[in-house]
């Protein structure tokens, strides 16, 4: 089993189980003798088979590489170390001969690593030949000899400052594009609406009713719950703080005006943007991905008229109704808190409410609702149509849709506040 230590490092293969053994031999005759000594040991190694090995025997200007064992993806860590370690030896040597007789298993990965070695020698201007490959691996080796010849140019690294500037610039240009897309959608929606007004039969009543059911009727429980809680919380906070000034009765004013003018519609609009707006974007987006929208267009139908108009009309009808229901729920929540926390009976609460709010407050709130619905609908639908092929893009567009529509709802609310203040409502 053991070789003479003087002969070479070969002993390591067996005794120390080193994976890589370099045979450094200065004179040629010595190398020849070595190979003779080597073969029986080698054959014993072949029985072990699974552990990959790579031995290099220099013979004059010829470096003989003998890979052995299982050169497969399962041993990739070993293989990478083996081939990396042989590279300096390879660069010093001249011609290379790859003797594959010892290889028991070979797959693409192993074959590629060996191909890389012989290619390295070839690019240095030396001769590289492969011998002794088993017949069933010859095809694979030949195949890998052909590939990876032309490496795609790596993109040059860009100046990080320029990249940042690029991002900022694109974001700015993107905003302009957003406005354009919003306007386009508004315009095509208007056109579709005109078309429907001229030919009322072209309105998709079934779709409209179904959408109303989904975004209106089915949304009622969650809207009622949320606004009820909001109303109750405002009232509780009001009683808690106003009590210090003895201003308990003004809590009703606060709850009434806040809920009817601002919060009722705002909370409901934000909820609708998150609940129905995201659903619109995802629905239209996945229809876009599956080419359903293209199919509609090719049948001579306008996707805006068939898909988008019923959805947006449904939203425009549903949001005021939901706002009304939500406001009532919030006032009811306030009343409950007034009774059990603020010691104010329902009769007094109603009387105070009657004094504090007028129809104007209610109008101010409810007028905003359809506009907010329009903004939510347009953003949701146009984002849906911007979905590209990937699942990631669908997710991104849905997020964008919700964020944008909530932002727009709040901006609209601010604009309306200025408007109503200036006309004295």
């Amino acid at each position: 089993m053991l070789c003479e230590p003087a002969v070479c490092y070969l002993t390591c293969v067996n005794c120390l189980n080193l994976r890589l053994v370099w045979l450094r031999q200065v004179n040629r005759s010595g190398a020849a003798r070595l190979r003779n000594d080597y073969s029986p040991i080698w054959k014993r190694n072949k029985v072990l088979a699974s552990e990959p090995l790579l031995t290099a025997t220099p013979a004059g200007d010829l470096l003989e590489l003998r890979p052995a064992g299982s050169w497969t993806a399962a041993n990739v860590v070993t293989l990478e170390t083996l081939t990396a370690a042989i590279v300096p030896e390879l660069d010093r040597a001249g011609n290379v001969r790859l003797d594959m007789t010892g290889v028991s298993e070979l797959d693409t990965l192993g074959a590629w690593l060996l191909e890389k070695l012989s290619r390295r020698a070839a690019t240095a201007g030396h001769r590289a030949e492969t011998i002794g490959a088993a017949a069933n691996y010859a095809g694979l080796i030949e195949e890998l000899h052909q590939v990876n010849r032309r490496n795609p140019r790596a993109a040059p690294a860009r100046n990080p400052l320029l990249v940042k500037l690029d991002v900022v610039g694109r974001a700015a240009a993107g905003t302009a594009e957003d406005v354009t897309i919003f306007m386009q959608m508004l315009g095509s929606l208007f056109l579709a609406l005109v078309g429907v007004l001229r030919r009322p039969r072209s309105l998709r009543v079934t779709s409209l009713v179904y959408q109303l059911y989904k975004v209106g009727w089915q949304a009622i429980p969650i809207m009622v719950l949320i606004t009820f809680l909001i109303g109750a919380i405002i009232a509780q906070q009001g009683f808690f703080h106003f009590r210090k000034f003895g201003a308990d009765s003004y809590v009703v004013d606060m709850v009434g005006i806040l809920v009817l003018r601002e919060l009722g519609v705002l909370i409901v609009a934000i909820m609708v943007a998150g609940r129905s707006g995201s659903a619109y974007t995802a629905e239209l987006g996945s229809m876009k991905m599956r080419e359903e929208i293209d199919a509609l267009s090719t049948m001579g139908l306008d996707p805006v008229e068939v898909l988008i108009l019923p959805r947006i009309i449904a939203l425009v009808f549903a949001l005021p109704i939901l706002s009304f229901i939500g406001s009532m729920a919030a006032l009811y929540g306030g009343a409950l808190v007034a009774q059990f926390y603020g010691d104010m009976g329902p009769a007094i609460y109603l009387a105070r409410l009657h004094e504090a709010v007028s129809v104007t407050s209610f109008e101010v709130g409810i007028i905003k609702a359809p506009f907010m619905a329009l903004a939510i609908g347009i953003v949701a639908c146009s984002e849906g149509l911007r979905v590209k092929g990937s699942a990631e893009s669908l997710g991104r567009q849905t997020t964008t849709s919700v964020v944008k529509s909530i932002f727009l709802v709040i901006v609209l609310d601010g604009l309306f506040a200025i408007f109503f203040a200036s006309i004295g409502m």
Partner: protein, 259 residues
Amino acid sequence: MQQEALQFAIRVSDLVVGFGRQVVIDHLTLDVRKGEILGLVGASGGGKTVLMRTIIGLVPRRSGSIEVMGRAVGGAQDVNSKKIARQWGILFQQGALFSSLTVRQNIQFPLRENLVLSQQLMDEIATAKLEMVGLSPDDGDKFPAELSGGMTKRVALARALALDPAIVFLDEPTSGLDPIAAGEFDALIQTLQQTLGLTVFMVTHDLASLNTVCDRVAALADGKIVAIGPMRDLLLSEHPWVRAYFHGKRSQMLQPKAS
């Protein structure tokens, strides 16, 4: 017995698969030999894809046993299945490429998940696989949404082959391709089968690929394998469905060649 088990890549015995009241696969037995290309034919909706998906463990079975490369699949030994999963590659009918990854990342995905190797080597392997399936390295940076149908199938095949599996399952690999592309794809499968020593399990309706690449063809009807063997044996089969399939108007073009 041991030796016999070794020569089969897939052994399905007495398999029953059903959904609700409907029984799709009814006591089916099928052996796939190592290193062969087996074509599976059957009526549309007749359970070919279900059979394939059952073998790879995506559809639960009611009874029967499945062995892949000598290991039992599914059932209680799910841990075991993960080991087997490295031994097979699957080409889904629609490609099923990960849409948010580039082509190169798609091919590298199985490598990255299963092996520890340097990014450079991974890039080289991915490019090598791309070229092996007949695409150019420049296609590596594209996203799946930017690929044509034929390219999608090639990339899906490259991904299926990423780990050099022993078995490749192909679900209608040539459907939706023009005859030239389909022919190229057949040739590609045959070349790769020879160079990599693959076992190929191919669900197909393409009579030309059945005739040219498949070593054996299995016909699935009424939830059973009603005929199996080389193409010329199937052409002689007396089973009414098999006769209708191979001797229908559309398959007349095969007759002079086969007989």
